[in-house]
Symmetry: C2
Subunit: 345 residues, 2 copies
């Protein structure tokens, strides 16, 4: 079959790889209907060292069950399923607590002998725990929005949930990438009435307004902080959703947080140390929370709203490519020509 | 009257200062019955530059109302009262949310023209909001425990509350100073059944056991982390109360935090940046919370347990001095000869 491999910074190729086969009784084989490129894929795309053999890549997909191991109950060939971006048994103590990203028997896609999502098919470990059945057909118009349940929408939701967003909280979202826009959508869904989106790409912030942002701040750094403070009587907002992952974004996040408030971050941190000293964080009793989103924990909760069309998180996809065009998809996202690229193998 | 002034590192003096007088209708004058030296006083005592004029110091006291301004209701001369370590109006939006340390009309003791607590008397700004009446006499045996309501016990409590300690959580407390021991007491009071105290002073950790610690780990750094992990099946504890304020203590705290857990810190951070990168914090979905404790928010809640003798937080005082012996009290605490020094002016 064909799958995507990364050979180093800027070097993504679609090549023939061995067809996946069941290896354990808990595995399932899934033929991929839709996959996509993640903002976090752009970190290795921007910086990986050159590799001679190439490494599989991709962690978001939905598809059709082709075959299940003998221990996989609840699924049959033909079922349309979505996979979260971490596989997990969904039964261990961490999974039971909703922290499937720390599953005692789970792991990442495209690691070791586990397939990546950007390919024609995937062997799914711990299939009964990992996969969620979708009550739609292979040609459903909802597939793009359903695919976001794999990562970007639950990631935005995790950001909002861990920050403590509700009807009584004001919110700032730092970053107008697909995760930031998903965080806007999630915050609105959780009842936030004031959502300030910090981003400087008008086409993206327009979608942010469509998702529920009430204010857009295009300025960055100190100027951006100042602008958010002007909008909030000098106080900042109760909750701040940091959806970029860089240190300047985190500094901005603390700069716009109201005393007693919380910053949640879901963008992969591109730093080892960050600004958590006396002022403003400690003196202002600010909380830093979030982390790698346990998407699996949220899929059942978010699914009905997607099926009913109450939310349309799939609007973050502004370009669709075939599998052999994935390298072009990476290029377009890295150059910010595309917000998020959908792939139809 | 006599009051304590700090002239620089290691140089604390008790000198004559002007008697306090009412300045605003919202002021009260309080004659100090008990005050004490705080671990946080040791930071300026260890590092302040030399000052020619000396600066007032001290922020924990209880005493007797001598006089009230015309706008102060609810208090009369003769009332025994305790003051939290930040004064506040207790009516603004932040105070209403329980964040009196961010009061819009509040401030610190010993700052500007506001008296410090380590003296014979104090002018209390925003007295109606700041002070809490204590239903005891001037000679009550409970005064030491009641004095801890000014800072150290609510600070330990704030640490436990913001961390999310309850009956279902395991807890590690980093630090066996007066705040750490108070955090043990607070965690036990909130129902935690497993409390691991990290500290290496046997007399202090013995008091920690008395306060509710179930395990004591004397090792520090990586060895200490290893030991806590051994005690917790390799996982660490759900909640970690960081009561020191140094970067190594914070690193230890993250090292013993269970995935999905929280570190709360209440020791004044002696760092600008800290370890909040991918591993372990982001990948483990760990939260960093806490901050300067709004003691005022907790006094009414903690007071009954102190009055009934259910908790005896005053046990942290292991030495009592007169006001003119305060310099010796600082010396003893700085040299770790005393855990916490009570002062009887």
């Amino acid at each position: 079959m064909k799958a995507t491999l990364i050979y180093g910074a800027g070097d993504v190729r679609v090549e023939d790889v061995p067809d996946p086969k069941l290896q354990h009784s808990t595995d399932a084989l899934v033929r991929v209907l839709r996959t996509c490129v993640c903002g976090s894929d752009l970190w290795p795309y921007g910086s990986n060292p050159t590799s001679e053999h190439g490494d599989r890549i991709g962690h978001e997909f939905l598809g059709v069950i082709e075959e299940t191991g003998s221990a996989v109950s609840g699924f049959k060939p033909g079922d349309v399923v979505v996979a979260p971006f971490v596989w997990s048994d969904n039964t261990c103590d961490f999974c039971a607590e909703g922290l499937q990203t720390s599953c005692r028997h789970g792991g990442f896609w495209a690691a070791g002998d586990v397939d990546g999502g950007q390919g024609e098919a995937v062997r799914v470990p711990q299939a009964a725990g990992t996969l969620v059945k979708l009550p739609v057909g292979e040609d459903s118009a909802l597939l793009p929005s359903l695919l976001t349940l794999s990562d970007v929408f639950p990631t935005g939701h995790h950001c909002a949930v861990t920050a403590g967003v509700n009807q009584r909280t004001t919110v700032t979202v730092v970053g107008d990438g697909a995760v930031g826009l998903s965080a806007v959508l999630a915050a609105r869904r959780l009842g936030a009435e004031r959502i300030i989106l910090m981003g400087r790409h008008a086409d993206r912030t327009d979608l942010g307004r469509d998702f529920g942002a009430t204010d857009v701040v295009a300025e960055r750094g100190d100027e951006g902080v100042e602008r958010v403070r002007e909008l909030t009587r000098g106080d900042g907002t109760h909750r701040v959703l940091e959806c970029v992952g860089t240190k300047p974004a985190l500094e901005t996040a603390f700069g716009v947080t109201r005393k007693g408030g919380a910053v949640s971050r879901v963008g992969m941190p591109q730093y080892e140390e960050g600004p958590i000293g006396f002022d403003p964080m400690f003196f202002g009793n600010m909380t830093l929370t979030g982390g790698v989103a346990p998407a699996r924990a949220y899929i059942e909760e978010l699914l009905p709203d997607v099926l009913e069309g109450k939310v349309e998180p799939g609007k973050v996809f502004d370009r669709t490519v075939r599998l052999d065009e994935v390298p072009e998809g990476y290029r377009a996202m890295a150059n910010r020509e595309a917000l998020k690229v959908l792939v139809r193998p």
